[in-house]
């Protein structure tokens, strides 16, 4: 577990001081993908750089694997850093080295013998899907491929934690998704903890188990990614959720929906992330003698399953509709009747 207590970083200049990170508390479980989201200037980069002490904290404690990182001497800090991988927005590869040599770099630093290095590097190249590109130079690779090298390099010394600072922000949407898939794959295969920083809710939605929202150097909201998606409390969080879900439907829209039907019922279904309910609609129409009309909806896939809302119109006898609604309410999908049309 990674436990962060009262962590602060204050940048002082002649005229003012900036509290980039301000008494931040956070607990991150082993093996989870933890996302930190926030707008520019929220202090995200400063925060993640404090974790491996690329920035020196002004105050606070960071415990990783039972060791307080903030108290380590420079020698043990270097040793500890070998167990904390990091990937960067701009990849930060050595242009003078090939893919193979870049990935070998952290192993050289750790003093791994040559034969072992070669073996490990080839394994990693396979893991990140770069077989055949061993002897390419970074300048000969695409952005996505460069980040794969970055990931392989970060994994070379079998770290327990992987820090990602905007690791996909320089990539196009398709490549972003590929890299995110790779991170999930690595998380599953190697069981390491991933902490990632982003300003895109899409990234959180796609791969994070838990999320913290940062603003003004503090965590203003945190929880299971799905919970935060479903019940965002803070204004900033709501804005982030809208990034992927679109704006909330307002009452006027729902009323206009209802008015357009003369019989049946308009219901709102809340999918809260259980993949077992993916076939709900087809099951309903098979089991009950009703017609189902999908009116409007917004469903997205998260790490925990489908999440979102769906407006449907159920038409048939009142009895059948009642039975169908009863059926839905026994699943994990929340159902909310919007109207009884006359």
């Amino acid at each position: 577990m990674i436990s962060i207590k009262s962590l602060s970083k204050i940048y002082k200049s002649k005229h003012n001081e900036v509290k980039a990170v301000d008494h931040l508390n956070l607990n991150i479980k082993n093996g989870e993908i933890f996302g930190v989201i926030g707008y520019s200037g929220a202090g995200k980069s400063t925060f993640i750089r404090l974790l491996n002490r690329l920035e020196e904290p002004t105050e606070g404690e960071i415990t990783i694997n039972g060791k307080d990182i903030t108290k380590l001497g420079s020698r043990s800090l270097r040793k500890e850093r070998q167990k904390i991988g990091m990937i960067f927005q701009h990849f930060n590869l050595l242009w003078s080295r090939t893919v193979l040599e870049n990935i070998s770099f952290p192993l050289e630093i750790a003093g791994v013998p040559r034969d072992e290095r070669k073996k490990k590097v080839l394994e990693l190249i396979k893991l990140v899907g770069l077989s055949g590109r061993e002897n390419y130079y970074p300048s000969q690779l695409s952005g996505g491929q460069k980040q794969r090298v970055g990931i392989a390099r970060a994994l070379a010394n079998d770290p327990d934690v992987l820090l990602c600072d905007e690791a996909t922000s320089a990539l196009d949407p398709q490549t972003t998704d590929d890299i995110l898939d790779l991170l999930v794959d690595i998380n599953n295969k190697l069981g390491l903890t991933i902490i990632l920083i982003t300003h895109e809710m899409h990234v959180i939605q796609k791969i994070c188990h838990r999320v913290a929202v940062m603003e003004g150097g503090k965590v203003i909201e945190q929880g299971d990614a799905l919970d935060v998606f479903m019940h965002p409390k803070e204004k900033t969080t709501k804005r982030f959720v809208q990034q992927v879900m679109g704006p909330e439907q307002d009452q006027a829209f729902i009323e206009s929906l209802i008015k357009s039907y003369e019989s049946g019922k308009v219901v709102r279904l809340h999918f809260v992330g259980e993949s077992t309910n993916q076939a709900l609609i087809s099951e309903l129409s098979k089991t009950f003698d009703i017609n189902i009309n999908i009116l409007q909806g917004n469903i997205t896939q998260t790490q925990e399953g489908a999440y979102g809302t769906l407006f449907v119109h159920l038409d048939g006898t009142n009895e059948e509709i009642e039975k169908a609604i009863n059926f839905i309410s026994k699943t994990s999908v929340e159902v909310e009747v919007q109207s009884y049309a006359e």
């Binding site: 904390i84 050595l94 003078s96």
Partner: protein, 222 residues
Amino acid sequence: MLSNLFPNVRMEELWTATEETLYMTGISVLGTLIFGIILGLLLFLTDRGNIWENKATNFVIATVVNVFRAIPFIILIFLLFPFTDFIMGTIRGPKAALPALIIGASPFYARMVEIALKEVDKGVLEAAKAMGAKTSHVIMKVLLPESMPALISGITVTAISLISFTAMAGAIGAGGLGDLAYRKGFQRWDFDVVFACTILIVFIVFIFQFIGDFTSRKMDKR
């Protein structure tokens, strides 16, 4: 044919002088490379925001470098006579030119090294730090390799200055093509000798330039 064009040129003399020039240039380039890189690294590393940040040390090194850079080479030779006599045991011949050549060129090269190192991507240095690299690793595995093309083109320019420095040193008896052109050519008024020496020096400069450009380009994988 050649003896008609260059009636006063003696081949053995010309050859010895060329060898001496190459000897002086070769050794002094090597010395400059070593001292220049050490000084350049120190300048870079003790600068603000760097691993060995130290205002006082940086100031001292920068001052020494600037002072030696400001001294005209011909004066530096005179200035260093006692020092040269002390460490080389003589103040004549190609060997005696070496201290002045190295001390004269190293500060120039040190500044070029410093500039080259400043061009190394900060992100890459940070990545190395995040991987737990020691300072020696950072120097040997990141700073020097990542600035190699600039280090090479810098030493090429320096080597070419060194060739003309050797000619100047020749004028006070260090041997080499400059010496030959001065004593046999200028003083005896045999201008064919001066001309032959010129051709050879230009040729040597071109070869250095070619090798430097080629290696620098070959190394650059950006």
